[in-house]
C-alpha cells in the first residue's frame, strides 16, 4: 500500500470513530460502546494483518532477518496492547457492575506510551535528527 492510501485509510477511520464518539457522548445515540469502537476494531485488525503480511515478506526476503523480525514482533505487541486497552475501556464504560479500577484499564496505555517514547528516543539519538 502506498503511503497516501495508508494515510487516507487511517484518517477516514479516525473521522468515523470521532463522529460516533461525539454522538455517543452527547447522548444522541445510545449504542453499545463496543459498536462505537467498530472503526478502531476494524483498523487494528487490518493493522495486525498488515504486520503479519510484512513479517512473512521479511522472513522470505530480508537479509537482516532477525532485526526485521524483532521489529515486526514489537509492532504486533504494540497493536495488541492498544487493542487490549480499548477492550478494557469499553468494558469499563459498558459493564458498570464490574467496577474495573481505572488503573487496570489504563495500564496497557502506560506500557504502550512508555515503550513508544523509548523507541522514538532511541531513533532520536541514533539519527541525531530533531
Amino acid at each position: 500500500m502506498a503511503v497516501l492510501h495508508r494515510a487516507l485509510f487511517t484518517w477516514f477511520n479516525l473521522l468515523i470513530f470521532l463522529i460516533l464518539l461525539v454522538l455517543r457522548l452527547d447522548q444522541r445515540i445510545q449504542w453499545n460502546w463496543f459498536i462505537v469502537f467498530i472503526p478502531m476494531w476494524l483498523y487494528d485488525n487490518i493493522l495486525l494483518i498488515y504486520i503479519a503480511f510484512n513479517m512473512i515478506l521479511f522472513c522470505k526476503n530480508a537479509h537482516d532477518r532477525l532485526i526485521s523480525l524483532r521489529r515486526m514482533v514489537w509492532y504486533m505487541i504494540a497493536v495488541l496492547m492498544k487493542l487490549s486497552a480499548q477492550i478494557l475501556v469499553c468494558l469499563k464504560l459498558e459493564a458498570l457492575q464490574w467496577v474495573l479500577p481505572a488503573k487496570a484499564v489504563l495500564a496497557p496505555f502506560w506500557v504502550l506510551f512508555t515503550a513508544l517514547a523509548a523507541d522514538v528516543f532511541v531513533h532520536l539519538i541514533q539519527n541525531s535528527r530533531y
Binding site: V3, L4, R6, A7, L8, T10, W11, L14, L15, L18, L21, V22, L23, L25, D26, L47, Y50, I51, Y75, A78, V79, P101, A102, K103, V105, L106, A107, F109, W110, F113, T114, L116, A117, V120, F121, H123, L124, N127, R129, Y130
Partner: protein
C-alpha cells in the same frame, strides 16, 4: 507499524522531538487520569486542570521548540519555508490547545458546551491533516 517515523513526520508536520515530547506527556497524563478516575487524588474543582497539565506543558515546550526552529530557519535564509512551517505548527498547536482547554472546562463543569462543540477544533485539524495527506508522495 503502518507508518514509519519519517512518514509520520512528513504527514503530520511534526518533528521527532515533538512526537517524543507528546508521548512523554501522554504517559504522565494517563497516569494522572487513572488517579483522578479512581477518586484517589485531585478531587477538588481544579482537579481536571492538574490532570491535563502535562499536555499543556508539552504544548508550551513544543511552541518554544517551533519558535527556535523558525528563528534558525530565518537566520539560515529559508524564510518562505520557515514561515510555512511555523504557520502549520502554530495552527495545529492552537487547535489542539483549544480542544484540550474546552474539554477541561467541560469536565470541570465550568461550561455548558456539548461534546460536538468541544471536539470541533479536532475536526478542523482532521480536515487540514487530510489535505496534508494528499500532498504525500
Amino acid at each position: 507499524m503502518i507508518f514509519s517515523l519519517n512518514e509520520l513526520v512528513h504527514w503530520l508536520g511534526l518533528t521527532i522531538f515533538e512526537i517524543w515530547i507528546n508521548l512523554i506527556s501522554l504517559t504522565i497524563f494517563t497516569i494522572l487520569l487513572a488517579l483522578k478516575l479512581d477518586n484517589e487524588y485531585f478531587m477538588d474543582n481544579s482537579g481536571w486542570w492538574i490532570v491535563f497539565s502535562p499536555l499543556f506543558v508539552a504544548d508550551g515546550l513544543n511552541t518554544y521548540f517551533c519558535a527556535i526552529i523558525f528563528i534558525r530557519m530565518h537566520m539560515g535564509s529559508m524564510i518562505k519555508v520557515g514561515i510555512l512551517r511555523a504557520l502549520w505548527s502554530l495552527i495545529s498547536l492552537l487547535l489542539v490547545f483549544v480542544f484540550k482547554y474546552l474539554l477541561c472546562k467541560k469536565l470541570s463543569a465550568q461550561s455548558t458546551l456539548e461534546y460536538s462543540e468541544v471536539l470541533s477544533p479536532v475536526f478542523i485539524l482532521l480536515q487540514l491533516i487530510a489535505i496534508r495527506a494528499c500532498q504525500l508522495h
